[in-house]
Amino acid sequence: MNWKIDIFDQAISFEERVAEVFQYQYQHNSVYKTFCDALGVKRFTSIDSIPLLPIEAFKETKVLSTPSAQLPELYFQSSGTSGMTRSTHYIADEEIYRASILNGMREFFELDNLVIWGYTPGYAENPHSSLIWMIQCLIDQEKTAQSKFLPLYTPLVQKDIDEVAKSGKQLMIFGAAFGLLDLLEISNVQFPSNTLIMETGGMKTFKRSMSKEELHQKLCEGFDVRSDQICSEYGMSELLSQSYSKGDLWFQAPHWKQVSVRNPENPLETLPKGEEGLIGVMDLANVHSCSYLLTGDKGVMDQSGRFQVLGRWNTQNLRGCNFLIDQD
């Protein structure tokens, strides 16, 4: 297969693409092969029977599916405080990531009409941030050169905003949610009424506690936009494809990525719609690392296949003498 093309080719069924990627990774990714073998899975039989590798593997070892013995130069690392083990995701083919970013944005937004401004305090210190790379990619593809990273902790300038409006393009401000709120606090500007806000769920720099609904409400008020203009991105350094929500908390994945909710006590089992469990992801853009991953996030799926992220699955409470009213 020509991964760069075939992964994103809807003429090939998702199942077929999954099967091809599985065979490739089973052959070329020793970590994933060992994992599958230990679970007794040696070949593709159906999408549901594919084991999802716990995402922490990116912290513990090199997760690579490539015949080459050489480590790729490009790699992404999760953010983290000192002393924390960070995930490392080696990128054997950055063109696939680029294609995933652009195709993904096009699937949900009118990318060619967007001017992207990135505001990413807290990420800037991480030279291996996949989010920064992604925003840079979006900035680079925009033809009018109005897209940019905003300088940190600097008030927005009305003239710059007006210029975007004058160009007939739609402004999308991309960044960690609390960073965006702080940007509003130091700026006194008016945004075009069609401005899109893309929050990345980041709470990286601020230790504030706020529900997602409250956060979106504050962004709505602060940017003076309708709630359907507040968008969210669900992504992580271990995944090369993003999911997006528009105006609510329900995410949708692009066609080469499938999200499921797994039973934490048996991750091979997909839970029925409406039940909470661990978010599992099949991301074909991860063809050169591992496409079949079990995250540590808690999620729930609706009838139409959209999903919500409900925070981290807190495993620290499972042991001990917990008195649980409903389950005791």
Binding site: F35, T315, R319, G320, F323
Partner: protein, 352 residues
Amino acid sequence: MKDVKSHIKLIEQATKEWLQPDNADLKQAIERTVEEGLFSFEDIKFQIRSLKQKVDQGQISEWAERAQLSKQLNAKGRKVLCLHAGNLPLVGFQDALGCVLSGADYYGKLSSKDPYLLASYLKKLRANDVENLKEYSTELSDFAGLNADKVLFAGSKESVDEVKERLVALNAVTGSTDYIIRTAKFSMAYLENEDPQTLRDMIESVFRYGGKGCRSVAVIVSPYTLSKVKCHFTDYVEEFWLKNPQHQKPTPKLAYQFAYNKAINRDQAWLDDFLIQATDEFPSDDFTLHWVQGDVSTLKALKAKFGEAVQTVYSSGNPIEGISTEWLSTAQSPDLWWQPDGIEVIESIIKK
């Protein structure tokens, strides 16, 4: 309440009678518990034998003395609601005993996972006219309108709000109710030698009750690597399981963890119903033991890292300087006054 001494004597006598082998009520409670698959006969027997040993040693009176219970110092008239957990047989015994000893009015919400054993004890106390034993039930709603002065329970920080909300909705508490909450989740041990008795104690501390309960060891720090000791260690585990078959079985998650460990090349020992893995991560899963190669400083650093989740650190040899330790052999048979999460039960009930 009678005078304090008679009160303690009354409870002691009732407890001794309850623990008699010919106590038909207790026998029936054990049978029902085993029949309904709640706990294994071996685990129940172990727990009762351990309690009997402590009671026969005079530990009820000694606990009262240690707590300095007296006419002046007691919790008479105070309403205490004990929310008992049910992860081990009779895990609520200590709270119930401590509460009635203190003189407080005892109200016990029994766990539906251990509904018979503790109930048989409470029934005995009532039959022997322990007058501050007020009510017990497996239904929380039976405590509606109680307006308790104190609520005693073991739970996670995250579960506290939910528990409080339910109690408030039932008017079981007031705005000034004091909550005594224990959050410890597991214990650690330092294993510095491989002699047979130490290994047997270690196995008991890890595998009794399927590893459940905050006194069970979930993390071992040892100068030896797991790969060096695992064959030797598993022989003793088999010996233990022959006498004490593991009652609860793990979910498929354990096999998933085994596959993951294999994939990342983490040393481990698969024991079918239990997994030993060489990792210093937080031990969140049931039926797992984390093995960390290291010295005393490693142990101290890990204890600090896991913080208040750690109940007890056990030592198989000399006490460890700088941290409080208990003997490994006492892990599953503690004194009646052991302090869950460092909280002395009677004192916490008496405290204004």
